[in-house]
C-alpha cells in the first residue's frame, strides 16, 4: 500500500530542492466525500496532501492552464510542474506527449499505483452508506475500502464501490512516471469493453431512444469538455470566442463566420456537441471517466468514448496512451490499416 508519509517526503524534497515549481496533488475537500485538486507551492503546505480512494480527479487537465500561463509570461520559470498521476492519468500524459502538447521535461511525474483497487464512485458509495455522513475513505488490506462515518466504521470490498472505469482498468500502475509509490502490479481484467455490452445489444431504434432521452437533458454546461485533459483546443467548436476578430475584421467577414452549433440546448444541437466531442476523442480518450463523473444531469458520456476506444482497438489494434514514442492514432497511417469502411 502507498505510504502517505513517503509521498509527502518526496513532495517536500522536490519543493525544498526547487526541482519543481509547484506540485499538483490532492487535499481533503472542504465538504462532501471527494478530495479536491491541490496546488502546492511550499514545503509547509505538503502536510495537507492526501492520497485515498476519493482522489478521483485527473489532474493532467491542469497542464493546459499551466501551458497557457507560461505562454503569457516573458521569462517563464522553466522548471517542471510536479503532478500526481494514477495509471489512467499517466496515459493522458502519454497522449499529451504524443501530440506534443507538453514536453517530457515540463512535468515531473509522481506516479501512484492503484494496485488492485482504484478510486470510488460517489453514487455507489452513497448507496452503501445510506444517509450516513462519510468522514473519510481509506485503502485497506485485502482490496477493501474502509469508510469512516458519523455512525462508525464500515469495511467494504473495493469492487463494490469502485468507479466503473476502474473495474475495466488494465493500467493500474502508471505507464510513464519519474517516481512510483505503491506496488508495480499488473492485474488481469475480465473481459474488455464489458461496459458496452448492454448498449451494444440494443437495436438501432432502442439506442436512438436511449441517447435521445439522455442528451435531451444536457444543459450544455460543458463540464465534460472542461474537465477533459484532451479538450485543450484553443478554439472549441461550441465557443463563439473562436471567431478571431480583430480591429481589421470587416462586418462582412464577421457575418460569414461559420456558426457550427447553436447555443440552444435542444436535442439536435446537444447531439452535435456530444458527437463532435466523441469523434475528437477517438484514439485519444484514456477513459479517466471524468466527463461522466462531473455531468450534473447524469448523462452516461463515458459510453460514447468507450465505444470509440473499442473501434480504435478493433480496427487498428490501437491502445490509447500506452507508449508516447508511438505515433498517435489519428496522425499515423499503416499499409495494413483497414479501409473497407471508406466508401
Amino acid at each position: 500500500m502507498v505510504n502517505i508519509e513517503d509521498l509527502k517526503r518526496e513532495a517536500k524534497h522536490l519543493l525544498d530542492q526547487g526541482k519543481v515549481k509547484y506540485i499538483i496533488g490532492y487535499k481533503k475537500g472542504t465538504h462532501g466525500i471527494l478530495a479536491a485538486p491541490f496546488f502546492i507551492k511550499t514545503p509547509e503546505e505538503v502536510d495537507d496532501l492526501v492520497w485515498d480512494p476519493t482522489c478521483v480527479h485527473n489532474l493532467t487537465r491542469f497542464l493546459d492552464d499551466e501551458k497557457k500561463k507560461k505562454a503569457r509570461q516573458k521569462e517563464p520559470d522553466q522548471r517542471p510542474v510536479g503532478i500526481i498521476v494514477k495509471g489512467c492519468d499517466s496515459r493522458a500524459i502519454n497522449v499529451l506527449l504524443q501530440e506534443e502538447f507538453i514536453k517530457r521535461e515540463d512535468v515531473y511525474l509522481i506516479g501512484i499505483s492503484c494496485e488492485n483497487t482504484g478510486v470510488l464512485d460517489e453514487k455507489k458509495l452513497a448507496e452503501k452508506t445510506n444517509g450516513r455522513q462519510v468522514e473519510k475513505v481509506e485503502f485497506a488490506e485485502e482490496d477493501n475500502f474502509v469508510i469512516l462515518t458519523d455512525e462508525g466504521k464500515m469495511e467494504i470490498p473495493a469492487r463494490e464501490i469502485l468507479a466503473e472505469r476502474c473495474i475495466e482498468c488494465k493500467t493500474n500502475t502508471p505507464v510513464v512516471k519519474d517516481v512510483l509509490f505503491g506496488e508495480d502490479i499488473v492485474r488481469s481484467v475480465a473481459g474488455d469493453f464489458k461496459s458496452l455490452e448492454e448498449i451494444e445489444a440494443l437495436s438501432g431504434e432502442e439506442r436512438w431512444a436511449f441517447w435521445k432521452k439522455h442528451l435531451d437533458k444536457c444543459i450544455r454546461c460543458y463540464a465534460c469538455r472542461s474537465v477533459c485533459p484532451m479538450c485543450y483546443c484553443e478554439e472549441c467548436v461550441v465557443d463563439t470566442i473562436n471567431f478571431a476578430v480583430t480591429a481589421d475584421t470587416s462586418a462582412k467577414e464577421k457575418a460569414q463566420k461559420i456558426k457550427w452549433i447553436e447555443k440552444s440546448p435542444v436535442l439536435s444541437e446537444n447531439f452535435v456537441y456530444h458527437m463532435v466531442r466523441a469523434m475528437h476523442l477517438a484514439g485519444r480518450c484514456v477513459d479517466c471517466g471524468e466527463c461522466e463523473r462531473v455531468c450534473p444531469v447524469d448523462i452516461p458520456i463515458r459510453l460514447l468514448n468507450k465505444k470509440m476506444e473499442k473501434e480504435a482497438k478493433e480496427l487498428f489494434d490501437y491502445d490509447v496512451g500506452l507508449d508516447h514514442d508511438r505515433p498517435s492514432l489519428v496522425a499515423s497511417f499503416r499499409d495494413e490499416d483497414p479501409e473497407d469502411f471508406i466508401r
Binding site: G29, G32, T240, I241, A244, K263, E290, P296, D298
Partner: protein
C-alpha cells in the same frame, strides 16, 4: 389560513387541479427534476431537491422570442412568441428556490418589465415544501436571511407531519388552489402549531454550514478586488458552467438568431441562458476580453451575488441552496470562499 391535508387525500387535491399544468419533482434513474406530472400518485415528499431549480420553468434555458421572415413587397414580418398564460402549479418548491424567484423578479422588472418572464411568472402558483431535513449537506440558507421554513415567494407552504401536511395558504393564488378542493382540507388542531415550530427548530439545527458575518462581505469584496486572492481560489476551476447554470438566482442570458444557412432572412430570435464562467461571455467584438481568466470570472460570480446585487437591491443574490457546492467538479466551495474573503488580510 392554516389547514391540514392528509397524505391519503393529497392525490384527490391534485385531481381537482385539472385546469393547471402541474410540475413536481420526479425521480428518474436517481436524478431528480421538475417534470410535468402525469400521475398524481408519483408525487413524493421524500425528495431532497431537484438538480435544477424551478427557475427553468419560469425562465426556460431556451425560448423563442419571435419568428421573422422576409416577404416580397411587405418586407420583414415579425411574429411575437409570448408565452401563453397557462395556469401552472409547481409542487415541492424548496424555500430557497422560491426566494430565488423573488430575486429574479427584481431583475426582470423595474425600468423594463420582461413580458416573457412575467407571463409565466404570473401564471405560476408555487407550492412549497418546508425542509424538515436540509436537502443537501451544503445548505446554508440561514446565513443569507433564509430559512428551511421560509414562506417568501411561496403561495402555499406544506410541512410534512408524517401522515399529513400542515398547509399554510399565503396568497390569493394559494387560496384559489386550496379552494379547488376545499372539502379535503380540515382545520388545524391546536397542537399542530407547536409541532411545526418544533420541526422548524430541529431543521435549523441540522443546517451546519455557515457563512460567517455575511453582512461584512460586500464591503470586503470591494476591498480585495485586485488582490491575488482570486487567482489562488480559482486555481482548481475548470471553467465549466455548472455553478451558474444550476444556480436558482443566476439569470444572465444571450440572444441569437437561429437561421438556416440557405435562408438567412427567415428564422427565430432565441434567448438562451448565458454563463459568466465561459470565456466568451465578456468577449468584445474587438477581440478584447475584459475578463480573460478564470480568476476574474470567479471574482465576478462571487461579487455579483454578494456585492453588486446587494448594492442594487439590498439583498444577497444567493439563497444558500448549496447546488454550486454539491456539483462543482473540483470542490470549489462558495461558503469557504466567502469565509476566506472575510478573513483575508485580517
Amino acid at each position: 389560513m392554516e389547514k391540514i391535508l392528509t397524505k391519503q387525500t393529497f392525490p384527490q387535491w391534485i385531481e381537482k387541479l385539472k385546469s393547471y399544468t402541474i410540475y413536481a419533482p420526479v425521480k428518474d434513474e436517481g436524478h431528480w427534476s421538475y417534470e410535468i406530472l402525469e400521475d398524481a400518485a408519483s408525487i413524493s415528499p421524500e425528495y431532497p431537491n431537484a438538480v435544477e431549480s424551478p427557475k427553468k420553468i419560469i425562465f426556460p434555458q431556451r425560448e423563442i422570442l419571435f419568428d421573422f421572415g422576409s416577404q416580397e413587397n411587405t418586407g420583414v414580418a415579425v411574429n411575437e412568441n409570448l408565452p401563453a398564460e397557462q395556469p401552472t402549479v409547481i409542487f415541492g418548491v424548496r424555500p430557497c428556490d422560491a426566494k430565488a424567484l423573488t430575486l429574479t423578479d427584481k431583475v426582470f422588472s423595474g425600468d423594463f418589465e420582461d413580458p416573457y418572464y412575467w407571463k409565466r411568472r404570473n401564471a405560476a402558483v408555487l407550492v412549497g415544501l418546508a425542509c424538515n431535513t436540509p436537502p443537501s449537506p451544503n445548505c446554508f440558507c440561514l446565513s443569507v436571511n433564509g430559512s428551511p421554513f421560509s414562506k417568501e415567494g411561496l403561495d402555499v407552504l406544506l410541512t410534512d407531519l408524517g401522515d399529513a401536511y400542515f398547509v399554510e395558504v399565503l396568497t390569493e393564488k394559494g387560496e384559489q388552489l386550496v379552494g379547488a378542493a376545499g372539502n379535503l382540507f380540515s382545520d388545524t388542531p391546536d397542537k399542530t402549531k407547536s409541532e411545526v415550530k418544533k420541526l422548524r427548530t430541529e431543521a435549523e439545527k441540522k443546517i451546519t454550514r455557515q457563512v460567517k458575518d455575511a453582512d461584512r462581505i460586500p464591503a470586503k469584496l470591494k476591498e480585495i478586488f485586485d488582490e491575488p486572492f482570486w487567482e489562488d481560489e480559482a486555481l482548481g476551476c475548470i471553467r465549466c458552467g455548472i455553478c451558474t447554470y444550476l444556480c436558482p438566482t443566476c439569470h444572465c442570458f444571450d440572444i441569437n438568431d437561429e437561421v438556416a444557412s440557405n435562408s438567412p432572412l427567415k428564422g427565430k430570435r432565441v434567448r438562451t441562458w448565458d454563463n459568466c464562467q465561459f470565456p466568451d461571455f465578456t468577449m468584445h467584438s474587438s477581440g478584447h476580453n475584459p475578463r480573460p481568466d478564470k480568476a476574474s470570472r470567479l471574482r465576478q460570480r462571487i461579487s455579483h451575488k454578494y456585492n453588486y446585487f446587494v448594492e442594487l437591491y439590498n439583498e444577497y443574490q444567493c439563497t444558500g441552496c448549496g447546488r454550486c457546492i454539491d456539483k462543482c467538479p473540483v470542490g470549489i466551495d462558495i461558503i469557504e470562499v466567502l469565509n476566506k474573503v472575510n478573513e483575508y488580510g485580517a
